[in-house]
Symmetry: none
Subunit: 292 residues, 2 copies
Amino acid sequence: MGKEPTKSVMDLIRDNFEKLTQTERRFANSLLENYPVSCLGSITATAELAGVSTPSVLRMVKKIGFKGFPDFQAAVRNELEERISSPITKYNRWSESASHEHILNKFADATMENLKQSLMQIDPSMFDEVVKILSNEEHALHVVGGRITRSLADYFFTHMQVARRRVTRVASNSNTWPHYILNMQKGDILLAFDVRRYEHNIINLTRLARDRGVKVVLFTDQWSSPASKNAQYVFNLRTEVPSPWDSSTVTLFVLEALITAVQAKTWDRTKDRMAELEKLFDETKLFKKFNS
Amino acid sequence: MGKEPTKSVMDLIRDNFEKLTQTERRFANSLLENYPVSCLGSITATAELAGVSTPSVLRMVKKIGFKGFPDFQAAVRNELEERISSPITKYNRWSESASHEHILNKFADATMENLKQSLMQIDPSMFDEVVKILSNEEHALHVVGGRITRSLADYFFTHMQVARRRVTRVASNSNTWPHYILNMQKGDILLAFDVRRYEHNIINLTRLARDRGVKVVLFTDQWSSPASKNAQYVFNLRTEVPSPWDSSTVTLFVLEALITAVQAKTWDRTKDRMAELEKLFDETKLFKKFNS
DNA sequence: CAAATGCTGTAAATAATATGACAGAAAAAC
DNA sequence: GTTTTTCTGTCATATTATTTACAGCATTTG
């Protein structure tokens, strides 16, 4: 024990995470999952919950500075007592060391709020409908982003490529758009992003696409881009954070949910493509070795 | 155990209080005083805290319906778990229309959990330290991503360009890396991403950078990339979602928090740059109008 | 006031737990 | 491809915790 200046168990894990081995990290992660209840039982129970052996648990708690498992458990209990004894404690507050005014905490609050509110606003049947049309390989998918949202478009494009054929990334430079529009056919899908400050050209692009019989899916913010009027499917997502610009975290979240839903819907096809992709990676690696 | 209709330990004590002897009541009262932490240790510790003997504790827990002390303790732990986890798990459920089994809800659960756990693991002082070095324009900032994380690197790059000068995006194609390394100087910062499956070349890049005296900031997942050993600052973020691949949402969140923190720290400088940027946008727009 | 009953703690037996030593397996280095 | 190093689980042992048995004390009752 000594006179350690109240280093929490979490702090100790953080500080020593580098030194931990793979199995020990697995245990550390399991600990995070439902700390502190997970380690209130015997070392055996704790180890089983994490799927590791008892000695691994022991080695790990020694590594982060405890004399043995009972010592570790005593520390956990002390923390728990502190936490429990103040009745109004908010359990979902982390890092006691970081003030509630710390930017990380303020940002986290805002993001969780955004996520919750955005979800409330999403129409599940529209979501499912979008998943359905994205899963259909017969119609090409075009993805376009703006100045900021380009990265999101890129991320979506990369993952969508795994799930299906005929995915095109439309360059964000609007000079080249006519070329892309030329290749859009009736029944195709255009997935577009437009958030503050709205980019004027996106309105034109979506209008031209719609006029060609292309289904437009638009990701925008809570104030809704003027391009919405050209889109069949609109996601209004919340972006407000304590910052001079807007957050894209919720948008990314919905994109990931979409990707997962599409992959799940087309799993027979996707799993083959993924396997093939793995093979290609291995071959590329081999190829590089020959070169070096 | 059996199929007791969720009688809490407190209920059991109340129901059987009449039958308890004097000493047993003394123990019961001590329990009430700081339940449940008081009975998380050994039976000996519990007894001592209440000022009674071990057998008295045992007789009492048997009397109120438990098979033995461990049985009693298990019940206490279960209650504790519920009490501890409910304020977290119970963030108001949205979309009544969408089933809890809907992918969006499952995904949201996982993402919130990831966010919470990642936050617990982030060392606030390290975060602040990274903000500090990112704010210093005297040293160049290099940003590099991998196959998947390239989009994140891109997003960060775009925003960082607003806040400061001397930001470079390192191409994700590792063939060109030597050129970039050539331009890295002592005191520079390399912000790198490496998540499963870890890319072998990133280890080499970070090592070479470190050897040149470059400060390496690494974003990786909970299993920690092998490149961590070359990095001064490591963010281990959680990525697990109900999907065949990993989520980047939490990573994006931390990036945004970082960007905001840097902009706040250098606000005098940043606000001028933002104003200038706005002006440039307007002029570009004007320029385009002349053309069309 | 004496005998009986019930209550409570001490101490021993029993069960469970935590730790250490070791060997096989995996990964890293050469 | 081989050797070395590191890691990780199985098993045996030491330690600790739980339970039981019992004896002393207090309280009650005749």
